[in-house]
Symmetry: C2
């Protein structure tokens, strides 16, 4: 698979696709309704200033401009070829494109990998040919791309039939053509400016990550909206997300296939191997991506980000002419991670002086009185803006601006406030005709009809702000600890027993118990004597992963004599259950009391590679699936956010009189395990520390059991 | 507080408010923009056919019709008085209203309980006067009511300034005037027909429950939309919900104050005592109410219900011209409680025969090919409707119907399908102008722009259908068990120790252990001998609720001798901690092994009365708040739904090789406890069974510890 070019050097391929100086349309049609005709019509209508060269062996002119029998006949250099031919003719024109020196080809044609085995074979053949010719390819089975800044319309999407989009700071990258078109249509309808739009279709060559990476580098792009069904290049995706974040660009993703039914549908739709959906969630969380649950939410957040104002903190001031809607917005604020601190007492008094029965804490309910007196509303809002020191302020005024007089007077009042408080986030919620909404937007306000959606968007903006701040304070990826210097081979790990696994983890800096492997029941007794009772006994075998199920664990043995007996019984039991298992002996461990059982581990996601997992132990993990995940490596902050993410996190504060847990020691373990998994990613396939016993503050965390497996061959 | 009239007999008061034959407006203004002028203008404009009598001592005519100096001067019978006077003049006109024989008064006036102590006192005085006069009152501080069927517009809401609402099957009852107005405006804008609309303001007399109860009885009402901040009359509310459900009417509620910040704001806004929000959730769940999280969601669901088609089951067929949106809808279906079973193999083959590369499982992705060929789309949809046997079908066609030709042809195709499948739920999702949407609605289809919101609405309809079916199969409230015949007094419960509490619960049919209360350490030893070791010892004292904290519990005592010693130590320990505590002795119990620790109990909600609570025991309840609640009494089905509601419910299926738990025995306990709490609701304030040990299937559930407290005096 081709990889995007290095950071800092924008991809020439994507430049050719988004910003070609000249484009040839192979299979150009005179019928502007057909797939080969539509892009030509769009290019002409949009006033694309670059060269447009229809290629059609049967006509001298297509849609009124000169046509060429073959791309090689075009008299000038061609940056980009659009191929609108039946699938079985695509391969025959690729050599001519290469000969002409085009930098990339957009292949609209369906009938490849999305269909059946024959189509997949044809796609593989096409890709091999393109690679051999040094030709980069978008598609096949895609709707192409457009650039609203230059009028380059390399697409046949129906979404442009009713008009082009105003250029703006939003860029859209979609794996699905139909969804991409739908998003474009909705953006146009809602007045969201879109600079760049691209659909990747079957992704034979160019995938979503490469597109996103290019967009993240582009100075006019402020928001990247991505529609994804399955990411194939996990590393490239993470690289694009990191780049976007480091440049303060918001990434909003609609990743479908969240449910089992959805994943089934996604698989049948794209034929791609989908990674575990929970891992996508982890990646999005880790790199500050907003994951939308619907097209509407996707565009709400994109719209909010497109204005480029991010609040400095999560505090929200709510000003409302309806107390009830104020309460709703306060509820929504809590739901979307915002805080609603009280208005300072002085400010409360100022508002009370103006409106005796106003609600003045927060929400600030200025009542219908302020709705009828715009100057009063303005003065209240000024108090909130000036003295409230909220990160963002939202103002709800029902459908009052549907009245043109009201709208104009409100606009005047708000314009003054905007002038006095430039750069602050003020969001309006009201219901009025689009023309009115546009006027308020032009004056620097975000407008949402629904007050809850307004608050949700503010929550998203605040989350982006935190993510950008964190990126600025970097570094994200933990430096390798000293233990990293060793290099393991697969052979070091294959067939490792519990003791070996613990030794490996101990070398990586993870605390384990002092234990003694005993080859016989008698030796176990001696070990118990040395360690001091009570002790625990565990069977040690590379062939047994679930020890309890074969009677391979006995806890709380009070005397060395009983340890001998217990070890003898255990060895007999295990031999009875699994006569063929290799048994290395019995591990004698000191019993640890108290503490909270947690578990952590590493597994390998097919798309994203090693993933660190942490959760509460016992039945919690199995019954409640209360776990947090991150890609490795990670730093302490990220590890801390994993701990905070658990629904059961309150257990670490100490419940029922228990002391608080040693969370810092836990974070140590997570960071070290992540560094270990990262540095040994080519050989370590899976790590399971279960339980990881978390002791009270100051007493550490300790791996009571461990398993390390090599990568699958 | 007045109560709504008995079931089956519609309230005369509400009839007078919603369907007056004659109305007097006291404080009627000639200025149609003022509060006293607006209702008159609306009544005249809406063509209200009943009598309209402005009352104004200073004018002979108001807005062109004859005015009267006093309501008593009106020459005919008056059903309803609207009072639009300053607060301090309201009391002076109430006697004249009573004298005239009006059935109810709507008081618009602000300046009562919503303001300050003086306002609250004025409101109390007004209410006392009204009661004495036998006058029912809506408000004060409310926006009144309207009836779109008759043109009765007893309101000054600005929402009607731009036009009246079309009458329809939706009724709106709102505690907040501003929210009520906002809802009315949005319904008009969205073309949702609203028959009745009422706002209750300060609820000095008439509250939301009484309004909902009346609406539930009205034959033209199909959906009740309620906006609530705090319900005062919990019993009346439940009664209204039960009535609505028994008549197959959907209730959709936006109850604000969900978060702490929201509750703070709600309290400051209404001054009402809000019940615990989680109890509202329980009530909504129990009586099949849809709780919306936003105004938008509220209206989405109301709109869906207003068509009156509820799917027979939860299965959803998804037909889409965009595979990606199909996957989104499948995800949404899973989120909103719907199932997406596969299309039968024959039907799959039929569609494949028409569109070779269609996705045919479910979602059924008919691809852009069908979007371009309406007859093909119609044939595919016919296969899905005819052979799919889905409870509901959703069809997504992007923004294609924005093209008028496409819209007309699609309408023709769908019209045929509608004819062949009358009464089936078909929901469309597309983006097009309102006029186009209205045409499809008129043809019998629900239309949603956003595909996820379409699926959410279908999920709500399916949930209503289940709720209605269950109501039809009744009874809901469990019959009293035999144990119910006894009648306790407060004195029977006050100061009850653990043993007493268990005896009470045993009498109510809840299994408890055979235990022996021992007055001395020696007696405890004898009891241990009789019961058989190992045993557990627990201190018994009416003054000690948290036994473990004072060392009052010792488990797993292996011999009677050790039981004597343990009892002696325990008594000494407890005396040391709590010298003043009355100690009844030491309870000796058999040790129970295995099983799952759960807990259940009853507490008293200030609004709704006794609430049954059930959850997983141990740290689960404290850390994860994983509990389910219901009002008592409840039947086995409802108890089963409580168990299913727990996030950790999988533990009952048996994890890590454990056998499944005896859920039927658990349900027994819940139903019996609920019947106990119901029958003794005047004396029992709180019950706490913790732990309730749930044994493997066939082995029952048993209360290991119990506490019963009387109601507070």
């Amino acid at each position: 698979m081709h990889k995007p070019e290095e950071d800092g050097k924008p991809s020439e391929t994507l430049r050719a696709i988004f910003e070609p100086e000249s484009v040839a349309i192979i299979g150009a049609s005179d019928d502007s309704g057909r797939i080969g005709g539509r892009p030509l019509r769009y290019l002409l209508e949009a006033g694309f200033a670059g060269g447009i060269y229809p290629v059609n062996p049967n006509r001298d002119q297509v849609q009124g401009i000169p046509a060429y029998p073959d791309i090689r006949a075009v008299p000038v250099q061609v940056d980009l070829a659009i191929i609108a031919l039946p699938a079985d003719q695509v391969l025959s024109v690729l050599p001519s494109c290469a000969e002409k020196g085009v930098k990339a080809a957009i292949i609209f044609s369906a009938g490849f990998g999305e269909t059946d085995a024959a189509g997949a074979a044809l796609q593989a053949e096409m890709l091999a040919l393109a690679r051999r010719l040094g030709l980069r390819v978008l598609g096949p089975n895609c709707l192409g791309a457009f650039n609203a800044h230059t009028g380059f319309m390399g697409t046949f999407t129906q979404a442009l039939k009713h008009g082009f989009l105003a250029p703006g700071s939003v860029a859209i990258a979609s794996q699905s053509g139909a969804c991409g078109g739908h998003l474009a249509y909705l953006c146009r309808q809602r007045g969201i400016g879109v600079g760049y739009w691209i659909t990747t279709g079957n992704e034979a060559d160019i995938g979503l990550p490469e597109c996103m990476h290019w967009l993240a580098q582009h100075p006019t792009v402020r928001v990247i909206v991505a529609y994804a069904e399955a990411i194939r290049d996990g590393d490239g995706f993470v690289k694009a997300l990191k780049l976007a974040r480091s440049r303060g660009k918001a990434v909003v993703v609609l990743k479908v296939g969240r449910s089992a039914a959805g994943a089934r549908a996604a698989a049948s739709h794209t034929g791609a191997l989908a990674g575990e959906d929970a891992v996508y969630d982890a990646v999005f969380r880790q790199y500050g991506v907003y994951r939308a649950g619907s097209v509407e939410e996707l565009l709400d957040i994109a719209y909010a980000c497109s204005h480029g104002v991010f609040p400095p903190d999560r505090s929200l001031g709510i000003v409302t002419v309806s107390g009830g809607v104020g309460v709703q917005m306060a509820d929504a604020a809590a739901e979307y991670g915002l805080e609603t601190p009280l208005l300072p007492a002085d400010a409360q008094a100022s508002i009370k002086a103006m409106i005796p029965f106003a609600g003045v804490t927060n929400p600030i309910d200025v009542t219908a009185q302020a709705a009828n007196d715009k100057s009063l509303l303005g003065r209240c809002l000024e108090v909130v803006m000036g003295e409230g020191s909220f990160g963002a302020v939202v103002l709800f005024v029902t459908s009052a601006p549907a009245d043109p007089d009201f709208a104009q007077r409100l606009l005047a009042v708000l314009g003054e406030i905007r002038k006095r408080h430039p750069g602050r986030l003020i969001v309006l919620s009201f219901v009025a005709p689009q023309t009115v909404v546009r006027e308020f937007e032009a004056a620097g306000f975000l407008v949402f009809e629904d007050s809850n959606r307004a608050v949700r968007a503010i929550g998203a903006l605040a989350a982006f702000a935190r993510s950008f701040q964190r990126a600025a304070s970097g570094p994200f990826d933990a430096p390798a600890p000293a233990e990293r210097t060793y290099a393991l081979t697969r052979g070091d790990i294959d067939g490792l027993n519990e003791q070996g696994a613990k030794a490996l983890l101990a070398a990586a800096g993870i605390p384990v118990l002092d234990e003694i492997l005993s080859a016989s029941a008698e030796a176990a007794g001696e070990a118990a004597e040395r360690i001091g009772c009570p002790v625990a006994l565990k069977i040690v075998s590379p062939d047994i992963t679930h020890k309890t199920e074969v009677g391979g664990v006995v806890l709380d043995i009070p005397t060395p004599e009983l340890a001998v007996a217990a070890a003898r019984d255990m060895l007999a039991r295990v031999r009875g259950h699994l006569p063929a298992a290799r048994v290395d002996g019995v591990l004698v461990s000191p019993m640890r009391r108290g503490g909270t059982e947690t578990l952590c581990g590493v597994f390998r996601d097919p798309v994203f590679g090693p993933v660190l997992m942490f959760g509460l132990g016992g039945v919690h993990v199995e019954v409640l699936k209360d776990v947090a995940m991150r890609l490795v490596p990670l730093d302490r902050d990220e590890a801390r956010s994993m701990v905070r993410e658990l629904r059961g996190k309150a257990i670490f504060d100490g419940v029922r009189g228990a002391p608080p847990a040693d969370v810092e020691a836990l974070i140590d373990v997570l960071v070290r395990l992540s560094a270990f998994a990262d540095s040994q990613r080519n050989v370590v396939g899976e790590v399971d520390i279960n339980p990881l016993l978390l002791m009270p503050q100051g007493q550490g965390a300790i791996a009571l059991d461990a398993l390390v497996l090599p990568v699958s061959e």
